[in-house]
Symmetry: C2
Subunit: 408 residues, 2 copies
């Protein structure tokens, strides 16, 4: 076995044999494809099917309305928030699950701007990282328009330096969805805070792949998605974190009856609930929520530091495999190489950019699922709980075959 | 059989035998209880369980990300909106399903106020029916605060007369959730429109029990719930109607990436989609959406006029049964008696009010499920697709037994 490709295949098998998270694969429904799109829609945890069948047949079908209390439906948003809390470095009682990420960005940004302007009405800037996932940018514009501030787009790494006396809040993605670049949460949060502004972090692309330290780093608000690395299912509800010290002053623009201090008093005046329930709005989507709760069972006993170590090992290994299999003229690695600046994916700027979608299709035909973001970026997401080193090696090898073929 | 109670039981059996909707009962999972809480959480349509199992196992588990296109996930919000359209008198292409009712009230009210103020900036009043379901009132206050208008609460029947040159918009519940009173949609809409304002109707308690004529009556915006009489499941996503002529001017305060004209272009500038998709926000909750879609299958071939006729027959019959079984000193009927002012429930003001919750509990122990709204109101919801006249007779009889007992 002197061929470098063969040696990588051998190494992959050895790395899998040594992988302490390898057993987690059995908790997912997988097949013989290499699924590297868990950063878009996580694979199905095996526990979901049975649990959802029980929810429908027993809790909805038989107990019906009684399930709001007897099956714990009413408390699901905070209970599931507490399951996610350790993954984002938060003590219990600060997360609530419900609504989409976009809607939660709206709640958090409006509330952050209100807090800052309540303290100093001259603060009129909302800093937004310019590479943001689009929805955050659109929602930020809407929140700015409704609260009387203006959006100032900046590269994420410049937000710390740009924060100043005009800064009301900063909305930053913890990782760039396109490149997989990891942004410095601790430094940016500290700088915005020191300038007197508030931070809102979007954790969609980091929760479930690396340790996040919301409490320790003094983050004010955070939102995140549960259908990517948390495997909650298509369109699973998002989470909202509001730092405990700010909860009493959290002034949500979406005060629904579920966030009332006494929802069943049906009072005409709004009195907000204390604690994370203040982030609720309307009746929570129970089927999606309870599917997510079942999906989160795979995190039991998992150490996020170990997940991060495997994630970096996978992406490092993928980069080595790419170097062997894929001609450098075909692909630029756009994901930063230093570990401290890399999240859980590897993105390639394909050449020519126009053929990236076709490459993606050919990969799919050969059993390797990845995705594409314009212009010409191929994304390979590595979900440490179910992606193996053999998957990783195979993906690079197949990409090399495709690149060496007739694709232009 | 000369006892009036016996005669009613006999009549119930005859009415069920003549009921042209009776066969629909077999499409639901029912048991030997009388379920009169379908106005809070509709019973489980039998088709849901199998469909949801397929969605999880096949569409999520096997096809995964490909299901966004191959399983039609992406188009579900408008496709399901079109299934609801005939139930609210709307032509296709004007409804979108997603988010909670509260969130949709927010979109609609902000958009309605913006439209009105764009035409005349002096319009600074948001009329809200004072008996509104709480969430609508809370969200209206938030929308008013963010758009610079003030909420003016009024009895629903006075909104038509109160609409004037200051009216930006009116948010009205089609039926009062507490009393079951039906409000005059046609007259109120016409009056607000004549005054130059915009209307937002909340159809939560009428969709699925009576014909609604959004297009014919010139309604601007409407929202509604799908987990009550549409049986979509706990927390099933709500719908938003935007009249076709207004769609190009619908200026949503929640512009997420799902409502972008080209969502997958991932463009930094927001360009809203045309048509009902403009009412979307973030990634839709697919499991809840597809459960709802399966649940809506029970409406196939159902004539809403026939549903309304049965609904009125059920509540009329219930009132007659109450007159025989329940001492008038114990309960005031707070639901209007004229058909034109009655929606799909019968509400009783219990005496003494403090014992209403206990009565509800005793009913439950005897197999009759209803619900309670403070202060002292017992609600009996009649879902015409699965409630029988025998159910109705039994509910009144059991209530009479409970009322004649020692409950104080």
């Amino acid at each position: 076995m002197s061929d470098p490709g063969d040696r990588l295949a051998e190494e992959a098998a050895r790395l899998d044999a040594e992988d302490r998270l390898a057993a987690k694969r059995t908790e997912f429904v997988l097949d013989d494809t290499v699924y590297l799109d868990g950063n878009s829609l996580g694979a199905l945890p095996a526990a979901v099917q049975g649990r959802l069948a029980e929810v429908v047949a027993r809790e909805w079908g038989e107990l019906r309305i009684r399930s709001w209390t007897e099956s714990g439906w009413w408390t699901a948003p905070e209970r599931i928030g507490d399951l996610i809390a350790p993954l984002v470095g938060a003590e219990r009682g600060q997360l609530v699950v419900g609504d989409s990420t976009s809607v939660n960005v709206f709640k958090a940004v409006v509330a952050a701007v209100r807090l800052a302007r309540e303290e100093d009405a001259e603060r009129n800037e909302l800093l937004v990282d310019e590479g943001t996932f689009p929805t955050d940018g659109y929602v930020a514009e809407s929140a700015a328009r409704l609260t009387g501030v203006r959006v100032r787009p900046l590269p994420a790494h410049r937000i710390a330096a740009a924060a100043g006396p005009r800064t009301a809040a900063a909305l930053v993605n913890h990782a760039d969805y396109r490149t997989g670049e990891l942004h410095d949460l601790a430094v940016t949060t500290a700088a915005v805070r020191a300038a007197g502004g508030r931070t809102v972090w979007d954790l969609c692309h980091t929760v479930g792949v690396l340790p996040v330290r919301l409490d320790a780093d003094g983050v004010d608000f955070a939102v995140g998605c549960t259908y990517k690395f948390l495997n909650g299912g298509p369109g699973a509800p998002a989470f909202l974190y509001v730092r405990r010290a700010l909860q009493p002053r959290f002034d949500s623009p979406l005060p629904g009856w579920n966030s009332h201090a006494e929802p069943f008093a049906m009072a005409p005046e709004y009195v907000p609930a204390q604690g994370p329930a203040r982030g609720r709005v309307g009746t929570p989507e129970i089927l999606s929520l309870l599917a997510l709760e079942a999906a989160l069972g795979v995190w039991e006993g998992v150490d996020v530091e170990e997940v991060r170590a495997k994630s970096l090992a996978l992406t490092d290994f993928f980069l080595r495999c790419l170097a062997v299999h894929v001609p450098p003229a075909r692909a630029d690695v756009v994901t930063p190489l230093p570990h401290g600046r890399r999240a859980g994916q590897v993105s390639l700027g394909w050449r020519p950019a126009e053929s990236a979608e076709r490459v993606l299709q050919l990969l799919g035909e050969r059993g390797v699922l990845a995705d594409f973001r314009p212009p010409g970026v191929l994304r390979f997401g590595f979900a440490p709980l179910y992606t193996s080193f053999c998957d990783t090696e195979r993906a690079a090898r197949v990409l090399g075959e495709v690149a060496g073929g007739s694709v232009e």
